[in-house]
Subunit: 367 residues, 2 copies
């Protein structure tokens, strides 16, 4: 087959990956990271009940997963006090963002997001030919008002907003999002990524009528529930919008053991509460490490903390590179001025101690 | 968001699922199947080493899987004696077929397959606006020559061929496929689905130069390796073709425990050989059950057997319904005259015995 048989769009797309995985970095370095603090994984891990459920399910892995994720969807429906028809389960938020882009974006359609926000969303939009319009952060927050204005200016089909935000960890109240919906252009859909919302203060989740056609909310078992490797996310939205995913999704795409584990994780509210306590403690530890090195941190409503390295992006990159070379995997924002920071995931003290040990050496090396 | 904001294509697509899952049938019946013999799952299950690997990996499920599936791709490269750059790992063959359709199909593009062949392929083609042209089976085999002719007639971008075939279990030699490639129109890509090839006689897999640009081969851990619920498939093809998947695939879509388990499954060649012996035995048992009931079977190179119910599709459907009501999950071909058959997956004797017990009652009920 010649290249000309690829779609016109596919011919223009780069072969790219939104993030290089830490394993690829480890292979390049020829050694493993001592502290894996870069991917906003939840190093405290999932509920032991979820792990047990996953292990129990391994004997039945010869069976396809239920394409309807019936049990999980119904448990989520009860949890959110909404009908199951308003929920679609998918292969992580990444998978669901891809499906959503496919449902909505035709080549040339416009989409609005923040400059430096989640690159995988951008990857999917570009992958369907969408044209991205970027709005700068304002005081290290995604700028809700400016996003709404830009969406109106460019007649956007989608506008993306993560609350809490990644990579900065900042957040706005759910009420302010509800209020902003009134400024959302008619026929624009708000993609509200709430991947980290379980870590956030009460009132951060947007309280909206589940049949409100103006937004879709993305949730995941990858963060607070500690199951990033399982690939279970879900979207909440109006029934008609959710039904459209049935037209295109990979119906048999869910790992069966992951479905079972998510069900067990959801049921273990105590573990989630414990995790949140650990994360609060870890944020304080990261804050302490930053201050001990003369640096500051941004307030965070997530399981990661942005450490402000106090200079420009090149300096933060040098700090990051130094940490990576010393076995500490961290990442950083892509865009100025947010790229003055490095982003550190929460985890047990034994791993944060490695950061504490190495940070002064890295800074000393840089002078 | 109003319906008019969905893509023109999405607005025309039905909300559909290629297969209703057995769990949905169980929920509708209010009872579980006693014998799950309908989805061509491998009831003999995966290698115990794969199960152990999956269980061991559950502690690390807080980590995303390696987006490059590096270890698995390299093990597969060694196994197939090809470079790893010629392999893409994905969320089952279903996921990979979706990616391939996305790379190649624009609305109105033509695709050729057999009438009654794998519906999930059709689902993905239609999902990207492709126009399907169907060629009838010939003597219960997919008709390779007719498919090639049709591909030329309609200037197909893709032509699908499963070897061995699902749902009939029939097969052709790998050599005949290699020979047919010379009749493949220039700029048509052969999608060779070898999901069941590990069950087939020596010489069934097509021996082609891995850089041959005329075909892509699909393989899976769902069938012979017994891990349908894990969602691990892979495609083999020319480096340039495979590289194109990097443009669009869900890079972090693979379940981490599934990657590890696939690696262990691949390494356990003895288990695969044992499975094949068990499948040969089970095919003979299904054959015996058919004959004991005055029915015949088709020769099979897969882990399922098509039982010819000897009359028309309505009769076979009545047989299927009777079995389902009696707790035996089976499926059947969609299209005449193949729909004179029901399709029974291989499994341990305890489950086939349930089929043996119920079949005479079902046939007696039908008279």
């Amino acid at each position: 087959m010649t290249n000309t048989r690829f779609t016109a769009l596919a011919q223009t797309l780069p072969a790219t990956v939104p993030f290089v995985g830490p394993e690829a970095q480890e292979r390049a370095m020829g050694k493993d990271f001592r502290a894996r603090l870069g991917a906003n994984e939840n190093i405290f891990g999932p509920s032991p009940k979820a792990i047990a459920a996953m292990q129990d399910a391994s004997d039945g892995i010869w069976m396809y997963g239920d394409p309807e994720s019936y049990d999980l969807r119904h448990a989520l429906a009860e949890f959110h006090e909404i009908p199951p028809q308003n929920i679609v389960v998918g292969e992580g938020i990444d998978g669901l963002l891809g499906y959503l882009a496919r449902l909505v974006i035709e080549p040339g359609d416009t989409v609005v997001t923040s400059q430096g926000a989640y690159p995988t969303f951008n990857y999917h939009v570009a992958g369907f030919g969408g044209v991205l319009h970027m709005v700068p952060y304002k005081n290290d927050h995604e700028d809700l008002d400016a996003l709404m204005r830009k969406a109106a200016d460019v007649d956007a089909k989608l506008v993306y907003f993560a609350n809490p935000d990644n990579p900065m960890g900042t957040w706005v109240s759910g009420d302010s999002i509800v209020a902003a919906l009134d400024n959302l252009p008619e026929d624009t859909l708000l993609v509200l990524d709430e991947a980290y919302v379980e870590f956030a203060p009460e009132g951060t989740a947007a309280e909206v009528d589940i049949e409100d056609p103006r937004l879709i909310r993305m949730r995941t078992f990858s963060k607070a529930y500690g199951m990033a490797g399982a690939r279970v996310g879900y979207a909440l939205g109006a029934r008609d919008l959710i039904r459209n995913f049935e037209k295109i999704r990979n119906h048999f795409g869910m790992n069966r053991a992951a479905q079972t584990a998510a069900l067990a994780a959801l049921a273990d509210a105590n573990w989630l509460a414990d995790t949140n306590e650990k994360v609060v403690q870890a944020r304080a530890e990261i804050d302490g490490i930053a201050h001990a090195n003369g640096l500051t941190t941004l307030p965070s409503a997530t399981n990661f903390v942005a450490i402000d390295c106090g200079r420009d992006g090149a300096y933060a990159k040098a700090v990051l590179d130094g940490l990576v070379q010393r076995g500490v995997f961290v990442r950083m924002p892509f865009v100025a001025p947010q790229n003055r920071c490095i982003r550190v995931s929460c985890g047990p003290s034994e791993f944060l101690q490695i950061l504490a040990d190495e940070m002064p050496k890295v800074l000393a090396d840089l002078g």
